[in-house]
């Protein structure tokens, strides 16, 4: 057992976990934050993507103790109160989901992708960058549309802020 301490969605969390506990299980079972999903459990599908110190990672492929001392953002941490994050709003607007199982990972991957491409995104880049996220419903078209739309909204927001 180890004590882990991390900042999850802005809140400092401590907990005692078995060393073999995966970060995704710590989030879901210890913290009750079930927005982050376990899809394939073999690091293929990306349903478990969270941000670790600002970077998208698969929370099923890292131990909670490895992440101790880090800052974690999950899907629960994106919205500002009742205002959806621009990526969440774009997924709703463009119908970027059907069953919704992959959506938390898709949105966390999309947010990371947009952050890494402040110059803007094109369809080819979005599709290539989605390599680590699998959706079995949509055929990706509306997911790509939503990410492109969110990227535009967020770059306009950044321009306004500047």
């Amino acid at each position: 057992m180890s004590e882990v301490k991390m900042v999850v969605n802005g809140r400092t969390i401590t907990g005692n976990v078995e060393d073999r506990t995966l970060l995704v299980h710590f989030l879901r079972e210890n913290l009750g934050m079930t927005g982050t999903h376990v899809g394939c459990d073999t690091s293929q599908c990306g349903a478990c993507v969270v941000h670790l110190d600002g970077k998208a990672v698969k929370s099923c492929s890292i131990l909670a103790v490895q992440a101790s001392g880090s800052e974690v953002v999950t899907i629960e941490g994106l919205a500002d109160g009742s205002d959806l994050h621009p990526v969440q709003a774009a997924f709703r607007e463009h119908h970027g989901l059907q069953c919704g199982f992959c959506t938390p990972g898709m949105i966390m991957a999309a947010t990371d992708m947009i952050n890494r491409h402040p110059e803007g995104l094109d369809e080819k880049t979005v599709r290539a960058e989605l390599e680590g996220n699998i959706c079995r419903c949509t055929g990706y078209h509306n997911i790509v549309k939503a990410i492109l739309a969110a990227s535009e909204v967020m770059s306009k927001g950044a321009a306004k802020a500047a």
Binding site: D41, K58, S61, I62, L63, Q66
Partner: protein, 266 residues
């Protein structure tokens, strides 16, 4: 996953001490291979020694034509390095083709090299570039480092700390991905440097990464994809599995080599 004891190493010396003290311990860096292997119980170390927080293992430096990459540098960091892109664009492109963005955020060059997966990308680059693998005990030429499937020259308590190579005059890397796993079914890194042309192949050999003397000879006199026209490699020694026969891989290797040369000259 079986039970495991986690240790966070503060330094390379600390990691070496922990490694010596625990017989069944394994080093973990990004963990993008080891953690999934532990989940399926293919790996069951008693102890994990985490190298991810050792600052001395991180970073890229280019000094003249000498490139040094800390073992703890992630694929994403290699892929995004402008300094490295100027020195060896093929290396940067290779890093950006590993796994997916999330894997590249954690996976490290040192971990990939020490694991020597027969379909990993970096071993081909290191072999073709005549790179040096620096450990906490010595320096090993890539040629002597990769010794077989998941086998390296690393001894007890030895930790990869950096990778060093001389920037080539030209280099290219191309791979044919397995449509499902996205691992290379054949990946070829070609490099032309002051000591000639080297061609290294990953994903295809049944004993891991290897150099192709036939293709090196053909390209030494004419560093052009056309120099490989009509060249065939023996299927002997190629991997054969449900995804591709040895014959198919032998053909694929030459096709990838041509594309890699074209990329190097592009």
């Amino acid at each position: 996953m079986y039970s495991v004891n986690y240790h966070r190493a503060a330094s390379v010396e600390d990691a070496a001490r922990l490694l010596a003290a625990n017989d069944e311990a394994k080093l973990v860096s990004g963990g993008m291979t080891l953690i999934p292997a532990m989940k399926t119980r293919l790996a069951a170390p008693s102890d994990l020694i985490d190298l991810r927080h050792i600052a001395a293992l991180k970073g890229i430096s280019v000094s003249g034509s000498t490139v040094t990459i800390g073992a703890g540098t992630t694929h994403a960091e290699v892929a995004a390095s402008q300094e490295l892109a100027a020195a060896c664009p093929a290396f940067v492109k290779l890093a950006g083709s590993i796994g997916d963005p999330h894997v590249r955020h954690l996976g490290t060059i040192g971990g990939s090299v020490a694991n020597n997966d027969p379909a990993a990308d970096y071993p081909a680059a290191l072999l073709a570039l005549g790179a040096t693998v620096v450990t906490n005990k010595r320096e090993v030429a890539a040629e002597d480092f990769f010794t077989g499937l998941f086998e390296t020259a690393l001894g007890e308590g030895e930790i990869v700390t950096a990778i060093r190579f001389t920037a080539p005059q030209a280099a290219g890397y191309q791979k044919f991905r397995n449509p499902a796993s996205r691992y290379a079914m054949a990946g070829v890194f070609v490099a032309r440097g002051s000591d000639g042309v080297k061609v290294a192949v990953t994903g295809a050999g049944d004993n891991g990464v290897f150099r192709s003397a036939e293709m090196e000879a053909a390209l030494s006199s004419n560093f052009d994809a056309a120099a490989l026209d009509g060249l065939t490699l023996p299927a002997d020694g190629m991997m054969s599995d449900i995804h591709a026969s040895a014959d198919y891989r032998a053909n694929l290797v030459v096709v990838m080599a041509k594309r890699a040369v074209a990329a190097a000259n592009g």
